[in-house]
């Protein structure tokens, strides 16, 4: 039978003259197939372009030939070269009456052109004509083209015809018509909004193919608005039931499973419809349970359906029995040897722990294995899972892991992603400020250019505000350790700009605070930074301001100020800078150091970065001056809102350009009305994300921003739920710390002090609470949340909540946190201390109920802890795992080695990869047969060298002599 088929095919091809194509085409394909390098392929294609250009310019090209040229053009474009010179011929071919040519034309056009290409307009007419054709295959070809080529502007031209075709007697046409409608919906939902009933109608189509296609459209519709389709739950459930009971034609079976792709689509739809809807969900329980039972768990496709069941179960209203079934499947996935199944298992676990957190516990080891796996895909998926189960007790381990991984990769896209995750988790769950700072340092050092600038501001604020308790000692220890860590890091080459800004600011503010380092030492370091990063104006600005602060503190402390020569030259250089901002800073520095101690003290009070500046909005201290001016005949001031027209820049004529600009920008952006609380004025730098440099600004600018930047305390919990970082940023923004850095602000406004702490406290606690609630809602009883929240709030932001009593279950954490805060005073030892204190990382890692972690605290060698999360297993299993991994490595290497060798291209070199191919092939084959369970007999053919040889000889017969035969080309894909 097999042979007959081959012979038949050979005959058929023979009668057409080979594959029905010219020698030129066969040669092209052959040479592309045998090309051994990208460069060789390029040469062939460039040559082909020339040939095509020549051929296409010939008159009266026969249609058959033209079709071949178009396909050669498809090759040209597929291999990455521009074929636009012949697009018009492809467009013309769509007009042909011959179906094959027409369809080839449509195919080529849809491969070449985007739906807004100018040439499309030449096709719309043809499409319209073809949609009216009597030949349903022509209609189908046109509908295919509609899906690819019609954009929102041309939809009306074909819409009526497409709608008519929904009632076409041929199911193939109905199916494609519904997909065309689906396409219109994707392109411009409004154009088909009145036609949604058609999707519902087609769901009941007699043909399973049409029904299956309709599911695609309905899935999109339901994703956007589930509520309008709740009435269809019954229909979907009954369809799914029928599919599962094998009521569909056998032809839809795939590896013995009835229409698995339709089942999966239906399960996706049910997941959407049952989400948060108990009543709808209850209708689904039976059928989903049935599928769990019926699915063949030994085949890939069966597992695909099972995975979709888990997704559905974890999305709909929870049902204990289904959850149990889901958990069983997950544990089977995780225990499997197949990486694919492990991956699916990890993903499924991430979905299920939202509902039943306890199931994670039994899979601790599997999860850790996946985390340790050299396979990046698996590792990242596992990080995803860990992210979902992070809490304050395990945050250190998880974030450490993430950072290690972040450092090890080069992929900027993922680096950014994981850095932001680290920051998010650290901000949310940090057990101590010390840890937070060290963690942020690491993130900044390795991915500083990739993280949001807000993160830097948060860090500075944290260091400035400290614990927020009345424990000045701890605060200064924290700062000392920060200073220490920065002095250590500062010498590293190529630090990210944002990180350097943080370093400069902290050194300026606290560098000399504990008396450990002399002013000249710190300023020397700052000069080094300004010099090493002389292209970065922001860094230089931060550095020079920091130097000014150091000198100011020296003067306030009545110490003699020795200005270093390099400092002097830096200041001179900057006062001639092109940047007005740098100039101003340099002049300010010079002005400040020439003042006497009392004056400096009032301009730049030491350690006042978190003090609030209260602004006399009425500028009453200027009343005398104004009065005097008026008496001399000056024009009275007209408030801005009474002036007509746009902002009059001339009003700010005396300000420098920079300030006028910032002012006008802010004036636009902050008009949103919000409760005004003039008494508390944490001056906010809302615009700081766009502006790295703290520019001293006059108080009026600040006033306009005030209302927007000041969420009231009651506001904080509710309206700012999702704006946590923004809210924080607004409060933490620049002026809080730049206030002391900008003497102009201080001197121009009468200051009275009031800490921001009160406000920030409420705000951050409120928002972080809500954040915690989001994550934990379903997996933790309410009672347990509050100690978490309190700890979170107190450890990250400090405050009265810290002193509140916790339930005993959280005691070990409380003590842990306090050890952190008290013990870790010396920065150099911080890392070691961190691991020591954190005795039980692994149980915490997977511990979602508190009970286990307190019971399992085996005191193992602390160095073991450094190595990872494995300590809950006994050491022996660690070792086993390690050796197993090591033993595998050579295999990996062998496989990696495969690829390059095969590229060499000499026929001798070819033998090796060929053999390996055989090997790979058989493994693929055995896989296929295993999944097929022997049911589909045609897969059992095995690698068939005879066929390959026959094809080879066929090509020879056709006049194509393979010079360096590439056996791969003839290898049966299915083996």
């Amino acid at each position: 039978m097999e042979q007959l088929k081959t012979i038949g095919r050979e005959l058929a091809m023979g009668s057409q003259g080979g594959f029905g194509q010219s020698k030129e085409f066969l040669d092209l394909v052959k040479s592309i197939g045998e090309a051994r390098s990208k460069a060789e392929e390029e040469r062939i294609v460039l040559l082909e372009i020339e040939t095509l250009k020549r051929r296409l310019s010939e008159p009266d090209i026969p249609k058959r030939k033209m079709k071949e040229y178009i396909i050669r053009l498809v090759y040209v474009e597929m291999l990455g070269h521009d074929g636009s010179f012949a697009y018009i011929h492809a467009v013309k071919m769509t007009h042909d009456d011959n179906l094959l040519l027409k369809r080839t034309g449509y195919l080529a056009v849809s491969l070449f052109l985007s739906d807004d290409h100018d040439l499309i307009i030449l096709i719309v007419n043809t499409i319209q004509k073809d949609l009216r054709s009597d030949n349903y295959l022509v209609v189908c070809a046109a509908l295919n083209a509609v899906c690819k080529l019609i954009n929102d502007e041309t939809v009306p031209a074909v819409l009526p015809q497409v709608v008519d075709l929904l009632g076409h007697p041929k199911e193939a046409v109905r199916k494609k018509a519904i997909m065309a409608l689906h396409r219109f919906y994707q392109k411009s939902p409004s154009s088909v909004s009145h036609l949604v009933s058609n999707f519902r109608k087609r769901l009941c189509d007699n043909d399973p193919g049409v029904m299956g296609a309709t599911l695609c459209s309905l899935f999109d519709l339901i994703t956007i608005d589930a509520n309008s389709f709740k009435d269809l739950v019954v229909s979907f459930v009954s369809i799914l039931k029928q599919v599962a009971e094998r009521r569909l034609p056998k032809a839809y079976d795939y590896h013995q499973l009835p229409a698995p792709f339709i089942q999966i689509r239906l399960l996706k739809i049910l997941a959407l419809l049952g989400s948060g809807d108990k009543q709808s969900s209850e209708q689904m329980y039976t059928v989903v349970g049935d599928i769990f039972r019926k699915c063949d768990s030994s085949s890939n496709i069966g597992n695909a359906v099972l995975y979709e069941c888990i997704c559905c179960v974890s999305s709909i209203y929870p049902n204990p029995r289904l959850l149990e079934q889901a958990a069983q499947v997950i544990s089977r996935f995780l225990k499997s040897d197949s990486h694919n199944l492990k991956y699916m298992g990890i993903d499924a676990l991430g979905r299920l722990i939202k509902i039943s957190p306890e199931i994670a516990e039994q899979h601790q080891l599997a999860v850790i294995d996946c985390l340790e796996d050299p396979d990046d895909t698996l590792k990242r998926k596992t990080f995803e899972l860990l992210y979902k189960m992070t809490k304050s007790s395990n945050v250190e381990v998880i974030v450490d892991r993430m950072i290690d991984y972040m450092i090890s990769i080069n992929d900027n896209h993922y680096k950014t992603y994981i850095a932001s995750r680290c920051v998010e988790l650290a901000e949310q769950f940090a057990p101590s400020n010390q840890w937070f700072i060290l963690t942020m340092n690491k993130v900044f050092e390795h991915a500083g250019d990739l993280v949001n600038v807000k993160v830097a501001h948060n860090l500075m604020k944290l260091i400035a505000e400290g614990f927020g308790e009345d424990d000045d000692n701890a605060d200064s220890q924290l700062r000392s350790s920060a200073v220490e860590s920065y002095l250590r890091i500062i010498g590293e080459p190529k630090l990210p700009s944002v990180f350097l800004q943080v370093i400069c600011w902290v050194l300026g503010e606290y560098g000399t605070a504990d008396g450990k380092y002399s002013a000249s030492y710190i300023t020397g370091k700052l000069c080094d930074v300004a010099e090493a990063y002389s292209n970065d104006e922001s860094v230089k600005a931060y550095a020079v301001t920091a130097i000014m602060k150091i000198y100011a503190f020296e003067i306030s402390a009545r110490r003699k100020v020795d200005i270093l020569p390099e400092c002097q030259s830096l200041v001179e250089e900057l006062s001639a800078s092109h940047s007005t901002d740098l100039q101003q800073r340099a002049y300010e520095l010079q002005a400040v150091i020439s003042l006497d101690a009392p004056a400096v003290e009032s301009i730049i009070p030491p350690d006042a970065s978190c003090e609030d500046i209260e602004i006399d909005k009425n500028l009453s201290f200027l009343n005398g001056y104004v009065q005097e001016a008026l008496e001399k005949g000056a024009q009275p001031y007209i408030p801005e809102n009474e002036r007509s027209g746009v902002l009059d820049i001339s009003n700010f004529g005396n300000q420098d350009h920079h300030e006028a600009l910032t002012h006008s920008l802010r004036f636009e952006a902050y008009e949103l009305p919000k409760p005004v609380m003039p008494s508390r004025v944490p001056p906010a730098a809302v615009a700081s994300s766009t502006e790295l440099v703290p520019v001293p600004e006059p108080s009026y600018a600040r006033e306009t921003r005030q209302p927007a930047s000041l969420p009231s305390a009651s506001d904080a919990g509710s309206s700012e739920l999702k704006l946590r970082l923004d809210g924080v940023q607004k409060k933490w923004g620049r002026p809080t710390y730049s206030s002391s850095a900008s003497p102009s602000t201080n001197s121009s406004s009468s200051t009275s002090h009031k800490t921001t702490n009160g406000v920030t406290q409420v705000d951050s606690v409120g928002t972080s609470n809500s954040k915690a609630r989001d994550t934990y809602d379903s997996r933790r009883p309410q009672v347990e949340i509050s100690p978490e929240k309190q700890k979170l709030a107190s450890s990250l932001f400090g405050g009265p909540s810290k002193t509140e009593k916790r339930p005993s279950s959280a005691n070990h954490k409380a003590s842990k946190a306090s050890t952190h805060t008290s013990e870790k005073s010396q920065a150099p030892k911080a890392a070691a201390a961190h691991t020591e204190v954190n005795r039980e990382p692994a149980p915490d890692l997977l511990d979602l109920g508190d009970s286990t972690s307190s019971s399992s605290a085996p005191a193992i060698d602390p160095f073991k802890q450094l190595e990872g999360l494995l300590d809950q297993t006994d050491v022996a299993s660690n070792v086993n795992h390690g050796t197993a991994g090591a033993a595998k490595t050579p295999d990996f290497m062998g496989l990696y080695a495969d690829t390059p060798v095969s590229g060499l291209g000499s026929s001798v070199g070819d033998l090796l990869p060929t053999n390996r191919d055989e090997f790979n092939l058989t493994s693929e084959l055995s896989n296929a047969t295993r999944t097929a369970q022997g049911g589909v007999t045609q897969f059992n053919k095995g690698p068939n060298p005879k066929d390959a040889l026959e094809k080879d000889s066929l090509v020879r017969q056709m006049g194509v002599t393979p010079t360096s035969p590439n056996p791969n080309l003839f290898r049966d894909l299915l083996g």
């Binding site: 193939a172 997909m179 034609p249 890939n300 359906v305 990486h339 895909t377 990242r380 090509v955 791969n968």
Partner: protein
């Protein structure tokens, strides 16, 4: 959207078929293809058949010397896509008989036609092999 693109690439990284379900310019394709092909070809047999790439995933499967790469959105069922690839190969095998790389090269348009029947707008619309091949066989007869 679901499926964003389907690529067939051989072991040397040479493209044998490319179908995109959202339009990419030539330059974008030239940049994308080598990058993802390199990623997938560098992986060992026993590693996952899935690779994350930017904000989507690539599901790939190897048949003899040919790799099938399918770019899918993040919420797509990877195992199902893996089996979809197999279904595609089975379908091609039914049509060509012992399908090999050369069949796809010589009948590029037919391979595309099959894909057109199976996937529309990035969704899997037809999995019944007879329905997929019927129009192609009819066209063969007519010519």
């Amino acid at each position: 959207m679901g499926i964003r693109f389907i690529l067939m690439v051989n072991k040397q990284g040479q493209t044998r078929l490319a179908q995109y379900y959202e339009y990419l310019t030539l330059e974008e394709r030239r940049a994308l293809e080598p990058e993802i092909v390199r990623k997938c070809l560098a992986r060992a047999e026993q590693q996952c058949s899935f690779v994350e790439h930017r904000n989507y995933k690539i599901v790939y499967r190897r048949y003899a010397s040919l790799f099938f790469l399918v770019g899918v959105d993040n919420d797509e069922n990877e195992l199902a896509i893996l089996e979809f690839i197999h279904l595609l190969v089975e379908t091609m095998d039914r049509h060509f008989g012992n399908v090999c790389e050369l069949d796809i090269m010589f009948h590029l348009e037919k391979a595309h036609f099959m894909l057109e029947e199976m996937v529309m707008n990035g969704c899997i619309v037809e999995t019944n092999k007879s329905s997929i091949l019927a129009p192609i066989q009819l066209m063969d007869k007519m010519n």
